[in-house]
Amino acid sequence: MTSVAGTPSSTSDRTQAARFVPGQPDMWAFVLFEALVFTAYFTVYVFNRARSPDLFLESQTHLDLRVGVFNTLVLLASSWFVARCVQAAREGSFRAATTNAFLTMLFGFVFLVSKVREWAAEIEQGFTFTSDEFFSFYYFLTAIHFLHLLIGFGVLAIAVHQLRSPARRSQETIETCATYWHTIDFLWVMIFALLYVMR
């Protein structure tokens, strides 16, 4: 790890970022692996959907597309704030970077609350994990994504912890945390497209 405590925008970090990828390359291995695992989940979903298109279409109508769009916009906004956090840290504006990290958390929290409310509304209408195949996939995909989001709060806490003390600051670690958060966003966009939009 290229830890450059106190000098987050140092030459070595910039060189590393220019030569490889933002943050630790190890985190990109995680992104690749998670993308493969989720691709496998999505393939299973699409395969099952192709076998019972009428059931999936009918069940899909019980989802509120507006809530899905709202969740997507909220998560995209959180990704935008984490990108601003990285940019501010690169420029040495650590107060702004910390503010943006907190805003990322806030929007992540809004997504979290919105998702729980959506689940509660679906359950109230009688659509549970075992109602039918579509809702099994709906709860499974959104719940596994939710779990990634919960881990994301821990990851952002690490970024904030790094930013708050000059002795700890590592641009690479902050970018690694941001990469994880973008992965959550990327996965959600795929889930949104498959569950809410695809007809």
Partner: protein, 275 residues
């Protein structure tokens, strides 16, 4: 054969003498024994569960009681002899867990990580193979029992095996945190993240308790096949990294030295070379 200044004779060239030489003089002897135990165990585990006992890939959860009685009858000898070997080699898990815990003791992290890992994986041996082995052996050795009872044994065997991945989840997370905190560079960081991937796929087997068919049942595409793909990747990764770690081991307390490229490809001065 000549002797070096330290009184240790030079390594002989014949394979058997080489093994004997390493047995006597290799300072990494115990680590290589641990590594080979892991390799042999995992291969044997696959052979016993997939080929001899034929309990993996798992059968359908929806079989009728009469079909379940037939299922036990069809593989009676495989279950009895296969799981007899599983019980015999089950003790190897002590050596395996100790070797894996050693990696955490070599890290710059608290000993609590290695101890937690040892405890959780000692517990994992029960749902990971022993309960299923005992239950399947009972079913195979009492073929005259009521099919309803056989049906209960069948559910118990597969739900205890497929649906109890929580202990592996915690073990993976303990290893992940240890790797991330370690300053001795025992394992690369991507392995920590791979532990997280493995832990997350352990969660998705939980619906196997609810569903009897489809992607989330104990034989389902998501609960079993994808999970197994991740587990095989994870196991291959840690066996490869563990071998590399043993090659790098200098028995010090600081960062592990990196290997020269040719040393990583053709290890010498260890039991590994006797392969």
């Amino acid at each position: 054969m000549t002797s070096t200044a330290g009184g240790v004779p030079d390594e002989p060239s014949s394979p058997l003498r080489k093994i004997a030489w390493h047995w006597r003089h290799d300072e990494k002897r115990e680590l290589w024994i641990g590594w080979w135990t892991l390799v042999v165990f995992y291969n044997l585990y696959g052979l016993l569960f997939f080929v001899i006992a034929r309990t993996q890939p798992p059968p359908q959860p929806t079989l009728a009681p009469s079909e379940i009685a037939q299922w036990f009858d069809d593989r009676r000898h495989g279950l009895i002899y296969g799981y007899a070997i599983v019980f015999i080699v089950g003790g190897a898990t002590a050596i395996m867990n100790a070797t894996l815990a050693y990696t955490m003791r070599r890290m710059s992290v608290s000993r609590a990580f290695a101890y937690s890992y040892l405890v959780i994986y000692a517990l994992a041996t029960l749902p990971g193979m022993l309960i299923m082995g005992v239950v399947c052996t009972v079913g195979a050795m009492r073929p005259d029992r009521d099919p309803e009872l056989m049906s209960w044994l069948y559910d118990f065997a597969f739900l205890s095996f497929e649906g109890t991945m929580g202990v592996f989840l915690i073990g993976s997370l303990v290893w992940m945190v240890a790797v991330l905190l370690d300053r001795n560079r025992v394992f690369p960081r991507w392995f920590a993240y791979l532990n997280l991937c493995n832990a997350l796929t352990e969660v998705v087997v939980a619906p196997a308790w609810i569903f009897k068919d489809g992607a989330f049942a104990w034989d389902g595409t998501i609960a079993w096949w994808i999970n197994m793909g991740v587990f095989v990747t994870y196991t291959t990764a840690f066996l490869t990294l563990l071998r590399r770690m043993i090659l790098r081991e200098d028995f010090g307390t600081g960062p592990l030295p990196e290997l020269a490229r040719d040393e990583a490809q053709e290890p010498s001065g260890s039991l590994e070379a006797a392969r």
